[in-house]
Amino acid sequence: MNKGASITSGKKLLAFVVIALVIGLAIGYGVGYYTTTLSISQAPAGAERVYTLGVTFALSGAVSSVCVQWTPVVTMAIDDLNNLTKSMGLNIVFKPYILDDASTPDGALKNVQTLYATGVRIVIGPALSSQVKAVKAFSDANKLIIIAPCSNSPAIAIPDYIFRTQPSALRESKALATYAVHEGIRSVVSFHINDEFCNVFAQYFKKYFEESGGSVLYDMAYQAGQADYGSDVASLASWVAKLRPNAVFYCGYDTDGANVLNHAADEPVLRGVRWLTVEGFYGASEILTQKIVDFARATNIIGIRPVPIANPLYDEFVEKLKKYGATPTLCSENVYDAVMIAGLAVLRTGGSSDPEVLRRALIEVAKTYYGPGGWGLFDENGDRLQASFRLWTMAFINGTYQYIDIGYIADSNIVVEKVLG
């Protein structure tokens, strides 16, 4: 061990670190300056003005498999916005600033702070309700507009600068409960991932289902972020065998959903009951396997999702998205709507960065906006008012396994258009 040497090298290091930090800060300052001038200030006449929309998605970590499919949607929406401005002869160019928050609340907060520092005034994302809660205080304090595409927690239904293009879980749960009763289902066992999105669904489904005379015989949650859920499915099968419910209410995402359904397909008991679900794993490609689709047909699994029926915009959205190499998944139409509403609001204000002006513009734009996810109108809490839903299932049609819509629910009118064997 050479003490003396390490001490002198320590001094050199100190110098090194200090210099590195100074350079780093200078870069940071420069970048801040550069990007803010680009996004906010008036550029010389004739030149393009770039308006940056911040995006923070969980591109790695627990829910990354869903969120990576949102980035093509963002690209597409930005392209659509830029085509629009071009056709209108405006010289505003929209640009996304995409950051990864690793599915953590902390990451989302840091990203939102960074985005705000670079001059971004509207942020799309974050994905999870827990992340939205973590950025709420920052958004409130700095009047930064957040448009969360997939958060459904009623705890954030507060009038503030947070808007959500995912309709409230309350109405959706109510619609599903109505559908269940309509189908003659009187008792269910509830099985869901223990995270906010699904807990909210399970809670409100139970509430409305029991109000309509049904009963939730057992409510079972499984922990998110496990390697495998086989034993949890086995427990579910035991409960179903014991309690003999009419149906299983299930809520999960793509990754855990594929796991759960794969295991469930092996359980004769679980093949013998109906399954009800929400949009959690809608569109997930890994679920479209022969095994799971067979299971889906055997149990006639029916899901609900917040897209109004007879919406040609949605079909157009799906078609266009194919060119971007993606298929619609959980909340992707909400992501599109979020970007579009944000962009249109910016255009309406003429590229303003005043939060109050933007907020008012956002509310106004949403009133007349109709996109793939339906009417954009926000309620007083900034949550999308949307009360019509599609019913979907999985089937083998025209030689491919696919998700298909079989009916819709609008204002408690239930219409089932297709009946699959």
């Binding site: 390490s6 090298s9 320590g10 290091l13 100190l14 670190v17 930090l21 780093g24 870069i27 940071g28 970048v31 801040g32 300056y33 990007t35 803010t36 906010i40 200030s41 940056t52 591109l59 790695s60 980035t71 600033y97 995409i98 950051l99 990864d100 690793a102 599915s103 953590t104 609340p105 902390d106 840091k110 990203n111 702070q113 960074t114 705000y116 520092a117 670079t118 001059g119 999870l128 309700s129 827990s130 809660k133 973590a134 709420k136 205080a137 409130d140 304090a141 927690s153 009623p154 705890a155 954030i156 239904a157 507060i158 223990n194 995270d195 906010e196 807990n199 922990q223 960065s353 809490n381």
Partner: protein
């Protein structure tokens, strides 16, 4: 409209909170020899205690029916926002109280954990404490009172009543920095005192230290009380800053981040801990700030952020295995020796 100031304030608050964790981790692990892989347990416990007191207590004292408007519902949050703006004295009072309570409770929690720490032996302390962190998280998830998976929200930032975001943030920053300074001074003084010497001897070889009359468990429990309590304070500060707590915030990754800070900065020295926290928190932010430079890459450019951080961690360690600022022997001993020179025959 350049928001360098806002950027700096937010980064510095993070930096302050993480520095507190790094300094205390350095004190207990780098110097005290308690390989704490469960740092997040104490951080999280402090955050939850802070969250509970600053919401439930505030609501109850203000006459809101807590059972109808708990802090994980919109009603609770709206009530909390109203109170935190209208009643600064109460908010500040409860905040200070919550810091004290969180210090005490987290400290006692750490103190009690000394028993398993001594029992399992140095090599296994890390994993034992890591287990504790995960068990605590599972408890948060499964307890409705603390919000379960919903977490709690609406925890008032104690200076929210100042009708100016910048000013209230600066106040909070000053508060955090002064607590950080206090922790730094405590840590520095302990490190270069006879207690620090004893702690280093225990870390080097606890059996010999025991043979030399040091009541190792007692000393460890004392120091662990202090460091745990101070991590709890950092947790409370974090909860009030983010204004929400959620079980997902207190995952193992937090612990490992703090570990990376002290090892890169230079284990044993409080300067190293602060420098480590500075580098890692700043680099991360600067990288996210520059993510838009690399848009032309065929993948999301922000994926490079963790890769670069990982590279920095590995390269720094391969180059400087003792960290950037390793500890130097106490100057005070040398100066006393110099004073005595010539007087010793």
């Amino acid at each position: 409209m350049i928001d360098v100031i806002g950027f700096l304030i937010n980064w510095l608050i993070y930096f302050a909170i993480y520095s507190m964790l790094a300094i205390t981790l350095n004190l207990e692990s780098g110097i005290g020899g308690i390989t704490n892989f469960g740092k997040v347990a104490f951080f999280g416990l402090g955050a939850y205690i802070g969250a509970l007191m600053n919401t439930y207590m505030l609501l109850a004292i203000s006459g809101v029916d807590v059972s109808k408007a708990p802090p994980y519902t919109a009603e609770g949050v709206i009530a909390l926002t109203r109170i935190s703006i209208s009643n600064p004295a109460l908010v500040l009072g409860i905040f200070i109280l919550s810091i004290l309570v969180s210090f005490t409770v987290t400290g006692i929690f750490g103190y009690l954990l000394t028993y398993p720490i001594i029992r399992v032996g140095a090599g296994f302390v890390g994993f034992t404490l890591l287990s504790i962190g995960e068990v605590l998280r599972a408890i948060y998830i499964n307890t409705e009172f603390v919000g379960g998976t919903y977490g709690m929200l609406g925890i008032p930032q104690p200076f929210m009543w100042i009708n100016n975001t910048l000013l209230s943030n600066i106040c909070y920053l000053l508060l955090s920095i002064s607590i950080l300074a206090l922790i730094y001074i405590i840590s520095h003084r302990i490190l270069y005192s006879p207690l620090g010497r004893t702690l280093r001897s225990i870390r080097d070889d606890d059996i010999v230290a025991l043979c030399l009359g040091k009541d190792v468990p007692k000393i460890k429990s004392k120091i662990f009380f202090l460091t745990s309590g101070l991590s709890g304070v950092a947790g409370t500060l974090y909860a009030s800053y983010v204004s929400s707590v959620n079980p997902q915030m207190f995952v193992m990754l937090v612990t490992f981040n703090v570990w990376a800070m002290i090892i890169i900065g230079g284990s044993e020295s409080p300067v190293g801990a602060v420098v480590g926290a500075l580098i890692l928190t700043l680099v991360e932010r600067l990288l996210s700030l520059t993510a838009s430079f690399y848009e032309y890459l065929p993948f999301t450019s922000d994926y490079l952020r963790p890769v670069i951080i990982g590279l920095i961690m590995t390269i720094v360690l391969v180059k400087y295995p003792r960290g950037l600022f390793p500890m130097k022997p106490p100057k005070i001993t040398k100066s006393i020796v110099k004073d005595l020179e010539g007087k010793i025959s």
